[in-house]
Symmetry: C2
Subunit: 211 residues, 2 copies
Amino acid sequence: MTRVFLVDDHGMFRTGVRAELGGVLDVAGEAGTVAEAVAGVRRTEPDVVLLDVHMPDGGGRAVIEAVHATHPDIRFLALSVSDAAEDVIGVIRAGARGYVTKTISGPDLVDAIRRVAEGDAVFSPRLAGFVLDAFSMRADARVTDPELDLLTAREREVLRLLARGYAYKEIATELFISVKTVETHASNVLRKLQLSNRHELTRWATDRRIV
Amino acid sequence: MTRVFLVDDHGMFRTGVRAELGGVLDVAGEAGTVAEAVAGVRRTEPDVVLLDVHMPDGGGRAVIEAVHATHPDIRFLALSVSDAAEDVIGVIRAGARGYVTKTISGPDLVDAIRRVAEGDAVFSPRLAGFVLDAFSMRADARVTDPELDLLTAREREVLRLLARGYAYKEIATELFISVKTVETHASNVLRKLQLSNRHELTRWATDRRIV
DNA sequence: CACACCATCGGGTACGACCCTGAGCCGACC
DNA sequence: GGTCGGCTCAGGGTCGTACCCGATGGTGTG
């Protein structure tokens, strides 16, 4: 029988969920604050934690991160009134294995909990798309680079190799040009991007996925 | 009525799918190669492309990337015999909105296509977990670091700042110690991790999400 | 207590990174 | 033809990095 732990700052809601799940699932415990939740989950070690996203003291994310550090096998299912993309992505990034809204029916919730317990991921229909968007965003995001237009083709070439950690001498060999020329390009790149050294440049480039 | 385009290098399989979907969905066209698929999809502009992952000439990913560049509104549902994590992640990263295995039943496939057409994401139960793992991997990956145990607390501190691109002088100010001490720590870090310069160190650290 | 380990510094060296000035060559544009 | 921008180099300088040597105190352990 799947053991589930309830976390929600509204006692009334916990009572309702407990009534819906009663008999079908084993409710190992419940909590109304982040601190109580972390302690309770660690003590009872349930299969699944049913977790409200919006709570004082950091919300569901804080609970996931704290518990996951000590009990990586415990799974989390987010349960929220919100269907905002940032809420979904945030809690999934923290480690939750699913996200359902509070409009869900009792039997569907039972099914979702069971599936999460078995290792599946469960989402309310509309919400899975948010995660996919965030996941495949990279390819689309790199288009918007106004500052990169300042660079010439050759400078972009040098930039790429610089960001990869190549030494000037290596870049020179790679591009069949003199070290001095590489220095010139590198200097121009740094000046145009308003950076002071190649370490900042490395971070600049990795932030924009140019590697 | 949802218009769907079939892409699979096995004609027999396309016939089977077409038979299953016939009447319920509008099959706009079909193709057996990447080139045919790209041309056909661009011509017919369907709502959803049902796409085999494993095909000659780059597979489903090639089709998605080519079509997505010109028709970003067309949605893709991957259909494959494989349930390997790398296949799922690869095609999702390319931009597919769902992934189902070929063991799926006809009615379920129809339902999946309709949901993808409406903007939802659809996965065979086991497979959604792969995407979430890849998405939130960062937090788990840093656990397995045998080499990092070689470093002392102070060295780890310096490592963090080095990886962030701080100069020795800045690190010295930050930690209220001498530049010489920073040099010593940095040298020890490089030696213990068997790296030769701070660029390699930066990449080493970013690979392990220590920033 | 001796010993190992760590953190803290210094001197000195070699090399790379970075900047500045200046210059020749070439193609595009007016 | 003149001008401008980009690519290609050079000399010469400052500063950061990496590594060598050494030294001092504090810490914990056998």
